[in-house]
């Protein structure tokens, strides 16, 4: 059982260390700083490497170098820093290097603010960098999951030889909750493909260039196969009170917790509501949504954005049921009562059309 209070960011990094992470390259940004600070405190004491790079661009390329040399490596950042890292993430995916990247989302665009948002969904879940690649994306909703999903992220990164994002918002990173760490302590060796400066690995090569069109197509198809396999093997989601749900709320991260309270409020008003929470954002639980559409007559996606994940919900449902959207931005976390009120209005009042038109403006 959870036994100690800890900040999400600290739990994330401690989970990473238990998962065998011994290298961290990063650049300061609020609200992700505690992750780097925790790494800076412990990794050198464990014979690992912590380095504050000159920029996020340098940091992600250092991750590339460390991964190429066989280290379990990670970085952490937030919106603008993740934008700067995107080229490097594309190189990681192209060169098939494992790396864990924590994105503690903050308000944007531009400098925005440091309060929580979920507005990096597009740039993390949809790729963000150039080329046909995907990130595997895990979305923790509690301090406990900050630790557990980060530990999972390292295993997935190595298994799939692909970047894995832990996509959280500033709120989950800054809050304290009870956490309990699993009884594991991994120490991993270098994978056989790594370039480690030894006779045995002398012929190893890490690169992402394929000059011949046929070669590049073959490589991209190979990556695509991995992503399809991930869809079969690593999909995670939580269903809550969906067994009889006629209205399904869809949200991830901190929002999903607000939605549980909203479900309770709606049920008290006689509305059979439930929640689907994607835990993996890529792969996305499309089949689960389609299954729920057999009963549900309305899906309401709630995000701390003006509507990013909602596009995946719509793609998943393929018009089987209406999908409405409610979002707050700028660092405002929606309250359960405003979500439940929104759903009630959708179900009852004619002014819904007006509201839809208003939301559509954004």
């Amino acid at each position: 059982m959870p036994s100690q209070l800890m900040k999400g960011n600290e739990a994330l990094m401690k989970g990473a260390i238990l998962a065998g992470c011994r290298a961290f390259y990063g650049y300061p940004i609020t609200p992700a700083n505690e992750i780097a600070e925790t790494a800076a405190l412990y990794l050198p004491q464990l014979g690992g490497v912590f380095l504050q790079a000159e920029s996020e661009v340098a940091a992600i390329n250092m991750c590339y170098g460390a991964a190429a040399a066989g280290a379990r490596v990670m970085t952490a950042s937030s919106g603008p820093g993740i934008s700067l890292m995107q080229e490097g993430v594309s190189y990681l995916a192209g060169a098939e290097l494992p790396c864990v990247i924590a994105d503690l989302m903050r308000g944007g665009p531009g400098l925005g603010n440091i309060h929580p948002e979920q507005s990096d969904y597009f740039q993390v879940v949809k790729g963000g960098g150039h080329g046909c690649y995907r990130n595997l994306v895990l979305a923790p909703a509690s301090v406990q999951e900050m630790a557990e999903l980060t530990m999972l992220a390292f295993d997935l990164a190595e298994e799939y030889r692909n970047p894995v994002f832990v996509l959280a918002d500033g709120c989950v990173g800054q809050m304290m909750e009870p956490v309990e760490f699993p009884e594991v302590m991994k120490v991993t060796g270098a994978p056989e493909w790594a370039v480690t400066g030894t006779a045995a690995t002398r012929h190893n090569l890490i690169h992402s260039i394929h000059l011949e069109p046929a070669d590049l197509e073959r490589h991209i198809r190979h990556l695509e196969t991995k992503y399809k396999r991930a869809g079969r093997e690593i999909l995670r989601f939580e269903e809550w009170r969906t067994e009889d749900a006629e209205v399904v709320l869809v949200g991830y991260g901190i929002v999903s917790r607000v939605l549980k309270a909203a479900v309770e409020r709606l049920r008290r008003r006689g509305i059979a509501a439930g929640l689907l929470r994607p835990i993996t954002l890529f792969p996305f639980p499309s089949a689960a949504l389609r299954r729920l559409s057999a009963r549900a007559k309305l899906f309401v996606t709630v995000e701390m954005s003006t509507g990013q994940m909602v596009e995946d919900v719509r793609l998943a449902l393929e018009g089987r049921a209406p999908v409405e959207f409610y979002g707050r931005v700028g660092g405002i976390i929606p309250a359960a009562e405003e979500v439940s009120d929104f759903v009630v209005r959708l179900l009852t009042l004619p002014q819904v059309e007006e509201e839809r038109a208003w939301m559509a403006m954004f």
């Binding site: 209070l5 490497v49 390329n61 170098g65 709120c171 400066g197």
Partner: protein
């Protein structure tokens, strides 16, 4: 081979056949007269002579040398444009026993990668950088480089490089020589055999410095690019000798190899990792929650130094120990540095949704700005603890309970004004009864290591409880 004497064998550090190359696997992809081929040979020979082939990791750039891995029979990593020095940094730190070469051109190193090389050099990364300066972008077809001479035409300076538009040629060795950390910086040229012989010595020396673990070394190589310069190989070598060397003087810009001492990272035995991380051993099962329904949504606010965040943490820690669901969320960022501080705490018998408290049923306002900021949000029927005996004239509400006491002053009477948060906590505990006293005591024992401070805190807590007993006997 009658009539010939084989004076130089192929370096062992070159592949005999370039299998990774799609076609013409017995020749390089470099143009006739290109400096890369010459430099590759010098590097491969130095690797052979130093006996470091198995240990060497070659980081190739984006540019004409992107295919370094076609040729070098060593560990190979291809980096993004400009980032070879950053990649090499982490490779070396991951594998300190390896010999890491960052091979970069002038666009790669001096333009897009200028930050990475500057900082790698400034950190004294014990890597070896070979910086090929041919004063032009070769692979992209002849655009201006940071090192292009003033007046020189390129595809993007069709009227010649102008000082007004592109500035002056960037002198990398001179720039890096301003830093403290580099051990060895030398500029050489490939303009004739004599220069090439000097370049060979510099290449080997730079690698030897890494083998000895002395620190950062960089050799800048002025190199011919006959194709883009539109010259014959002979003209291009002359251009290197006469034109480029006049702008970029050859020479040693730094050599501390005699004084430098090898640095070895101290070996660190793997200890008790979980203990070091402060991970508490599993305490078995969670304590049973209290029988009565608890839903405290608490906002605590005040100046920095009033113990706002600590008070919140103690509440959450005590709540956890009492079997409640708890969360604690601080204000963070610039707000935190402006002197004001606030946090939200939730204590509940039901699973918690959001840790954000937008409509608190308890407000603990340790100063007037906090009262003004958060009083309007307090739920009707909620409790407001305020650090004064009276409310400001314009801060009244009829639908909440006020507990108006000078908590800070009362703590000061006990000996330390900083315990004002504990006086307030005592008042809250007495009033709400949400938390058993034992849980708070256990939380304090866990969080306040100093016995003296803890005794003071407990006294302050008791003082707070008395306050409420006086109001609500």
């Amino acid at each position: 081979m009658d009539g010939y004497v084989l004076a130089q064998h192929r370096a062992h550090s070159f592949y005999p056949v370039f299998d990774r190359k799609p076609d013409a696997q017995h020749q390089t992809h470099y143009c006739p007269g290109c400096g890369h081929g010459i430099l590759h040979k010098l590097i491969a020979r130095a690797i052979d002579e130093l006996g470091i082939q198995d240990r060497t990791i070659f980081v190739s750039p984006v540019g004409c040398a992107v295919f370094g891995y076609y040729y070098f029979d060593v560990g190979n990593i291809q980096a993004a444009h400009g980032r070879a020095a950053a990649v090499a940094t982490a490779v070396k730190r991951t594998r300190p026993q390896s010999i890491v070469i960052s091979y970069q051109g002038d666009g790669d190193l001096a333009a897009i990668g200028s930050a990475e090389i500057l900082h790698a050099a400034n950190r004294g990364e014990p890597i070896t950088v070979f910086f090929v300066n041919n004063a032009i972008y070769g692979m992209t077809g002849g655009q201006v480089a940071p090192t292009t001479p003033v007046g020189a035409k390129s595809t993007t300076t069709p009227f010649g490089r102008s000082v007004e538009n592109e500035g002056y040629p960037l002198r990398v060795c001179e720039l890096l020589a301003a830093l403290e950390a580099p051990i060895y910086l030398e500029r050489v040229a490939l303009g004739n055999n004599k220069q090439i012989t000097a370049a060979a010595r510099a290449v080997k020396k730079a690698l030897e410095i890494q083998v000895k673990g002395l620190g950062f070394s960089l050799v800048e190589i002025l190199s011919p690019c006959p194709t883009v310069w539109k010259m014959t190989p002979v003209e291009a070598q002359r251009h290197v000798r006469d034109e480029l060397a006049a702008i970029f003087p050859a020479g040693v810009y730094r050599d501390r190899s005699k004084d430098a001492v090898p640095w070895n990272a101290p070996a660190r035995p793997p200890g008790d990792v979980r203990g070091m991380l402060g991970i508490a051993p599993s305490n078995g099962k969670k304590p049973a929650p209290p029988g009565t329904f608890v839903d405290q949504r608490i906002k605590i606010a005040g100046f920095g130094g009033q113990g706002v965040l600590l008070l919140g943490e103690i509440l959450a820690e005590a709540g956890m120990r009492a079997g409640l669901e708890v969360s604690w969320l601080p204000s963070y960022g610039p707000e935190m540095r402006s002197g004001a501080s606030n946090c939200s705490v939730r204590l509940s018998t039901a699973p918690l949704d959001s840790p954000v408290v937008s409509s608190p049923n308890v407000l603990m306002a340790l100063n007037e700005p906090s009262l003004r900021k958060f009083l309007p949000d307090v739920e009707p029927g909620g409790a407001v603890f305020y650090n004064r005996t009276a409310l400001p004239e314009d801060c009244r509400r009829q639908d909440v309970h006020f507990i108006l006491r000078p908590f800070t002053e009362l703590a000061d009477e006990l000996g330390d004004a900083r315990a004002g948060n504990m006086v307030l906590l005592g008042a809250f505990l007495q009033m709400s009864r949400a938390l058993p006293l034992e849980a708070v005591g256990a939380a304090l024992a866990h969080m306040i290591p100093s016995e003296r401070l803890r005794a003071l805190d407990l006294e302050a807590l008791e003082r707070g409880r008395q306050l409420v007993k006086e109001i609500l006997p």
